[in-house]
Symmetry: C2
Amino acid sequence: MNRAFLTLAATLLASLPTLSQRLHSPTNKLALSFQLGPTGEPTYQLSFGSKTVLKPSRLAVLVQGQPGFEKGLTVVKTDSAQADETWAPVWGEVKQIRNRYKELAVTLQQPGPEKRQLRVRFRLFDDGLGFRYEFPEQPNLKYFTVQDERTEFNLAADCKTFWIRGDYDTNEYLYATTKLSEVGPKNTPSTPEIGVQVPVAPNAVQTPLMLKSPDGLYINIHEAALVNYPAMSLLVDNARFDLTSQLTPDATGAKAYLQAPCHTPWRTVVVSDKAPEVLTSKLILNLNEPSKLQDVSWITPQKYVGVWWEMHVNRSSWDYAKVNNIKLNQTDWQALKPHGRHGANTANVKRYIDFAAKNGLQSVLVEGWNVGWEDWYGNWKEEVFDFVTPYPDFDVQELQRYAASKNVKLIMHHETSGSVTNYERRMPAAYQFMQDHGYDAVKTGYVGRIIPRGEHHDGQWMSNHFVRAAEQTAARRIMINMHESIRPTGLHRTYPNWLANEAARGNEFNAWSQGNPPEHETILPFTRLMGGPMDYTPGIFQIKLEHWNPTANKGRQVHTTLAKQLALYVTMYSPLQMAADLPEAYEQRPDAFQFIKDVPVDWDDTQVLEAEPGDYITTARKAKGKDEWYLGAITDEQARQSRVPLTFLTPGQKYVATVYADGKTADWEKNPMSYQIRRMTVDSKSVLKLQLAPGGGTAVSFKPTKAAGFR
Amino acid sequence: MNRAFLTLAATLLASLPTLSQRLHSPTNKLALSFQLGPTGEPTYQLSFGSKTVLKPSRLAVLVQGQPGFEKGLTVVKTDSAQADETWAPVWGEVKQIRNRYKELAVTLQQPGPEKRQLRVRFRLFDDGLGFRYEFPEQPNLKYFTVQDERTEFNLAADCKTFWIRGDYDTNEYLYATTKLSEVGPKNTPSTPEIGVQVPVAPNAVQTPLMLKSPDGLYINIHEAALVNYPAMSLLVDNARFDLTSQLTPDATGAKAYLQAPCHTPWRTVVVSDKAPEVLTSKLILNLNEPSKLQDVSWITPQKYVGVWWEMHVNRSSWDYAKVNNIKLNQTDWQALKPHGRHGANTANVKRYIDFAAKNGLQSVLVEGWNVGWEDWYGNWKEEVFDFVTPYPDFDVQELQRYAASKNVKLIMHHETSGSVTNYERRMPAAYQFMQDHGYDAVKTGYVGRIIPRGEHHDGQWMSNHFVRAAEQTAARRIMINMHESIRPTGLHRTYPNWLANEAARGNEFNAWSQGNPPEHETILPFTRLMGGPMDYTPGIFQIKLEHWNPTANKGRQVHTTLAKQLALYVTMYSPLQMAADLPEAYEQRPDAFQFIKDVPVDWDDTQVLEAEPGDYITTARKAKGKDEWYLGAITDEQARQSRVPLTFLTPGQKYVATVYADGKTADWEKNPMSYQIRRMTVDSKSVLKLQLAPGGGTAVSFKPTKAAGFR
């Protein structure tokens, strides 16, 4: 009887018409539909008004040694929900963030007696879609290994695409701008300067991926809340414009080891017909969990200088001696013969401390302070650094005393050389060392191939490591800034001590490679920065690097004007901003440096006034707790004129606008250091004329006139 | 001119006759010759008097991305040396060890302008050969990756071989005894009880490998001082009787990441025409580095009991509750509903402490004390245990107080479940926890597949981990005993806090599998124990395990007699010996238990009186600092009679011999618990008649008679 009944029920289910669910965003801008295909394969599609964003796209998770969640599925339950709430970030671009969405959760079941279930949860916002796979608690799915996730994002047409090549270990590639149909090896920029390159596949690209459809939609595909899962790349079908997820494998080829109940990160599709709305979307932050930290009083957005750029421009070095066969635990560091070019020496660090103190910058990063740099890179060596032994010429105690006396903080540097097992073993002692010596912030680095060998920067094991580093530093009230990390996915909401990441091609490439072309900084906010703040290290004043070392830097220069370097402090949001150039570069141009001294790193409001990926961005931001505004405008290699109404200013209030603009004959290549500063009084009815040189920019500060007083 | 000269020199070198070097052992028992073959391939051969031990056998190391050290080599230098010294181990089988050898070091050079060099260093002892590969400091070989080592051990004939299958992750196999020509899958015992098996190749075997040649030579092949290198297996050529080394790969297939100057472990060949001389060889210890520890006063050889066997015989359990989906950082342990069978509860541990105190045993091991056991095995999960959180019914503070009041030490237990990244992260906190709570010894475990995933128990990364664990515990004055570890290679000389390892099929298998056949313990000293002490956990009195749990243990029993369990304390050397059975088992047989109370774990002298691998072993040992002797005799499944002259006793001294023998009708299977104890007075002229039952043994203590007093 029972068996007969079950058979009947199964037959009924199988003969049901294919099920379709539809969901509209809160103000109906976007519409999502979910459907089971004829063979029980789940698909979704997304539209923006009458325009198709994504054609029917499949959803699938394959499991090792078990049937996958791919087809033959039935819908056992659907749940709807909606939310409209407002929350305040610990720091950020705006004071408050609205989280408004409609939700659909579809629970799917495999055929067979195990009745394994997968739930797909969609959250549809007015500015995009987030969805994730959830594995509910259930009797026949506990521990399992994800062999593959095959999530499709099938675009409706041959979009203009801003892409870097998919790679399991680096995201420091140059961007290419092509049609989707042209993505591939032919159009991949050559980047021999990147040491470790492990391409995913010929036609793979990384997220955040920025697209512009022929019918004018701006579409950004990424992920949110990447925890305990590998990062996702996308495989491009040039003919069909279909994108399919490709997860980063571990050493055995598996993708993720999971234990139900659990879920994947959110897959995100931000979409708008206005490019600025992509930049101001808070969808990814909204899909992350609230802060796990109770006390955040010690977290301080800050500007810093550092013993750093002087190494990049070959004025000094990270290493202390010329030996090339270091064994960390055997070398007698005191006996090494110094070569005399070591940057992180006590006197030099004091010079930076003095400079920071004099100019109101909070902190000084020092790289190359700890032993091991003679032989640190490229050997896949496990014991590279110990994070607690300074070079003989770096006096930890004295610098602790000196920095404290000047009310400046030192930022610790932990380069792991990719040897993460070594770093994890030493983290407790390294963080203890920091606390013992007054450090409350650390910059980490992961240059080189990962150890455990066979793991990748973007795999599940490493994604857990980065979260672990954020957690363990938070537990000791330490802020963290990770370089060569996995690409950010908004986790700084959950761990607000995780101030910034590199995870893209930073300003440093301008010092020793083909550099970053002038369009680079107009693309980054649409791609890498969608996931979170970047420690891009702007503020290079001495654009022509031969100035510092004519021999070693022959022909090298930064690929922007000086004024554009200032504008980047506004266009590239980060709560941690470096004044990256040498103190002497700033001392030569105190008028321009005033903008870096003034510009905040935490904001109450942000308005993107105009933007087009790859071409230009103009952003205005309101300082935290003050009626001061700052504007940054940048362009690519094309000169640009624009008229910007200052409607963002408080009506009725007069402001002194200080405009840091390109000089009349400025040009990123031929005359990059020409700038002009002018002051004027403006109000919300004023219109600002911008005149950007090729590769140029403009930075503006707006401070209330004294007459009006401060509010 | 220069170039012409170089060409000429190269021609001269190439036309040199193939070079041969010969070396004799100190008393000429063994002879070694080294030769470059016609294509410049290095080979060695070894003979014992007129008998060939090893035919010409090649030596080769292959390097990733570079020419290997395989052929085309020239000899650029040979060095000879000899040594004869005596040293005292911190603990051991004998008071002093003589290290006497002759040495030959051959420096070989590759053709080509890089002139890369490899040195082969041979040390020839009267009881065998050790050799290793050395990579001297040189301009063109710094960092390199060993792709393969192809060291041959080419036997002269079809030896009788005592072998377990080569495996990268386990050494808990049953031994097979076959001819070399018969090694292979057909003759591999079935061992479904072993959870993780990663066989090397169909015809691979593990070291220490024991062989007996048709002309009566006993040959043991192993390695010494395995540091920063993977463990070696041997591939067997059934037709030619050639053995070739096979190193354990890492996740990428590479074998070892090295940095010159450096060297491999020693490859060892112990050889004698007398089996007992294999057992007393100190060659492997002599090839290890002296102790790195300055202060060894805190290192204490010891006997212990433990909350352990009661879990194996299903009287209690490691876990505390019946849940099977634990998440270490999320589960509320206090809220778990206990199932009432948890062994490591405070009251039960106190019972063991009382028992240890009463019987003069130094310590109590407690397994299952810390949270995570509900779900600990087989899921390749990284966060399994935290090593610092006790179950709610295990009162750490109270047990610390109680044990101290009874002058008993508790032994900590750290089961890693193979998740070594997790353990390494937590080691500092775990060892601190031990120190805070009065623990000075730890038993570690590595059950399951290793994390970092793709690594193996026997790879280079893990060999470094085991040494790291020894070092880090030593730094905190903690003794360590590793289970499921890499096979030992004499490193306890260098790290004398590393008391013992399991690393073979221990007594525990008798509790829940097909067990260990009676011959098992006559093979282990010739194989696994060649590398160092084993925590075999002897002393099971309640041989028939149905006694403890008739349902769960139906038909299960230990495969020895009770008397043989006593003899194992002498035949299986370890400075750490468990009295493995339950206290109540001992309390029922206080007369037999007296031997366990008496038997030392540290010795001034050891004499193997008779031995044949797979058949029998009779060993006598002199207690440390006392004129007391202890004898153990064991046999395989055959009954055995023997007459042992007691010539080892001090001449003129009378001793009370207490003989713990098998009962007259004893039989390991049918009547295993029958034993008889008799006392007699003996001296060095006496002859002891041994009568061993099938699967039986005899243990004897010799204490000076009171009349003679103690020396």
